[in-house]
Amino acid sequence: MFEEASEVFDNMFKSSFPLTFIVFIPAVLILVSPLPAEAAHEFTVYRMQQYDLQGQAYGTRNAILNTEARTVEAEVLSRRCVIMRLADFSYDKYQKALRQSAGAVVIILPKNMSAMPQDIVQQFMELEPEMLATETIVPVYFAEEDNELLSIYTQTLTSSSSQGSLSAAEVLLHTATANGFQMVTSGAQSKAISDWAITSLEGRLTGVGGEDLPTIVVVAHYDTFGVAPWLSYGADSNGSGVSMLLELARLFSKLYTYKRTHAAYNLLFFVSGGGKFNYQGTKRWLEDNLDHTDSSLLQDNVAFVLCLDTLGNGDSLYLHVSKPPKEGTPQYSLLKELETVVASQHPEVKFSMVHKKINLAEDMLAWEHERFGIRRLPAFTLSHLPSHRSAQRSSIMDVRSVSPSSRHGAGEPPAGWVHYCKSHQYPKRKHFTFQRVSFPSSSLVMALPEQPYCNIIKRLHKRCSVKVRLRWQNSVDDLHIFASSLKLCLPFSLRVKPAIFDLLLAFCIAAYLGMMYLAIQNFGLLYSVVRRITLPKAKVH
């Protein structure tokens, strides 16, 4: 057959030159064409944070992943992609994977976070800062659990865990029959983003009653922080603070439209960005207002600055101050007012003042009010957390929906205070409705061109008829962020077989073909058998 074929080809090429092109060029094209990776299981993975702050590198340094999956139970982890479930996650296992120079780590998060036992959630929350604090060379990804991913995990688990105690032949058989999974992301390596901005929003309500009115500033930072930027929803920190600020703005904009309820205070609302990165947005806003402008509400007669941070849960309330307010100042009267309101209307709420001096030696400021404190503005933070070190402020576990009504009514005292000063009865309003502000709005995500969050806040703010100004602040000098490849929706896991399986298959196929050969060679036998059976019938005819 081949001789004849080659003869035919020879004649073909000798006789007509163009035919060569027609036959050969497509053949060459097919041979050299690259193979697209066919996707079997596609799911979304979210990469760990990556940023440099003040010369220090944080988070994972790598984005490219193309290795075979293993679970932690396997003997050899080097250059493998280690997958673990959140339920089995521990820092030791994570460290073990990193020590054995694993190729990547994928942590599978449950779909419904609230169904997880509280101690696991708590444990993971406390691990998050530790994972981020050290620079990790390998890519670390988070994925949400689904059925396919779970089946991949269980198959990998069975193949990884059974390797320890078997004989060599069993291991060989096992590797030949088991399914392997190749984890592949086709995203590019992460790059530092050069052109990005921190966005902050500022709104104001002007009071009546003469020149040089005192100003009250209400501040909340909107950005969230967690080990994976795209998974940090920050429902409590600081979705609750922002929603409370928006609600205050809405209330006051209503009150300020009537003459009777128009107070003699200017109100300044500030929704700051970059809060989780040392309150960069606030810092820049203060610099702009105090150093670069001649007239600003912040420059003269600020009554106090109230920062709202993490107020959505719990039934305790803390007023964090860097300097205890003196008697006779507006801050002191606010503190007293808070105490009376809490005592009279919400007796179940524990309220206290926490005093902590600003520590300039530390890398990060504790609370947002310290930014104002440095600039000698009277400021404090209202929060349900007793300490700024609480893991809840920077966790991807912070997704629990904020209860529609705050139990401690933290927004009421300031409102009451302003109107108390104007000797008006302040509006009876039991509960504040929280707008559900839950978007992944980490600074790293916000640096991307498509950001829904700011627009939504802006729209909400607009509805409150507060004059809103959007402030863009160009990149911060000592913060470099790597916002690319943080969320990948890519062909991700491929079923693969080891090379030994191919060899075995080749062996089986060779045996099959040998049998086929024998069968066709001895077709005459079958033919004669059939003939012998049919002979008597033929005689009948």
């Binding site: 035919v8 079923r495 050969y517 049919t534």
Partner: protein, 225 residues
């Protein structure tokens, strides 16, 4: 998975054809060009079928998962053109019956193999992802070789002038089975929800039965006169 896997699949799909060609004595008849011609006829017939299907059977837009019984039946009726094509190939070749049948079937099946199996194998079996379907596809090509040989034999018997009256019915039944085999298997799959390996087994058994029957008829016919 790798080039090696592609080689495996390729060997599984193509070597039976090669062995059949060598062992059936076709190579001694210098039948290569005749097989190529049969392949060209295959191409022509497929083109005609496609044109016909595209013209008269617009894509059925029923609900997903609903099996269009009549539509599928009509579509496989178009496969009658295959019989015509095989007849055309055989009528243009002079020679003994076995020779005619083998040339037509080999050319036909090889053309189908090259046209419909090679590209999926090349693209799929070489990829990183492993899937059993390429091995199954290769097995399927072996089955279709047997199928076409049986089909060519039945067509040859059907078109003979000296076919005894008693043979008319079984041969016609076999012809219908050959044409509607794909339809029947699809129906099986739909009704019994078969897995891919079971489908392959059913196909093999059905094809084996059909070809054994046609072999009996063929042997009887050839040696009766």
């Amino acid at each position: 998975m790798t080039l090696f896997h592609f080689g495996n699949c390729f060997a599984l799909a193509y070597f039976p054809y090669f062995i059949t060609y060598k062992c059936s004595g076709l190579s001694e008849y210098n039948a290569f060009w005749r097989c190529v011609q049969a392949g060209a006829t295959y191409l022509f017939v497929q083109l005609c079928k496609m044109l016909f299907l595209a013209t008269f059977f617009p894509t059925w837009e029923g609900g997903a998962g609903v099996y269009d019984f009549v539509g599928e039946f009509m579509k496989s009726t178009v496969d009658l053109a295959d019989l015509l094509g095989l007849h055309l190939v055989m009528s243009r070749n002079a020679g003994k019956g076995e020779y005619k049948i083998m040339v037509a079937a080999m050319g036909w099946a090889t053309a189908e193999l090259v046209m419909s199996r090679f590209l999926p194998l090349w693209v799929g079996a070489r990829g990183i992802e492993f899937d059993w379907k390429y091995i199954q596809m290769s097995f399927d090509s072996n089955i279709s070789l047997v199928h076409y040989i049986a089909m060519a034999a039945v067509v040859w018997m059907f078109t003979r002038y000296d076919l005894p009256k008693s043979f008319r019915l079984p041969v016609t039944v076999l012809l219908a089975l050959c044409v509607y085999k794909a339809f029947l298997i699809e129906l099986f799959v739909h009704i019994f929800m078969l897995g891919s390996w079971t489908v392959l087994l059913v196909k093999a058994v059905l094809t084996g039965a059909i070809s054994l029957c046609s072999l009996f008829l063929f042997v009887t016919l050839v040696h009766s006169n």
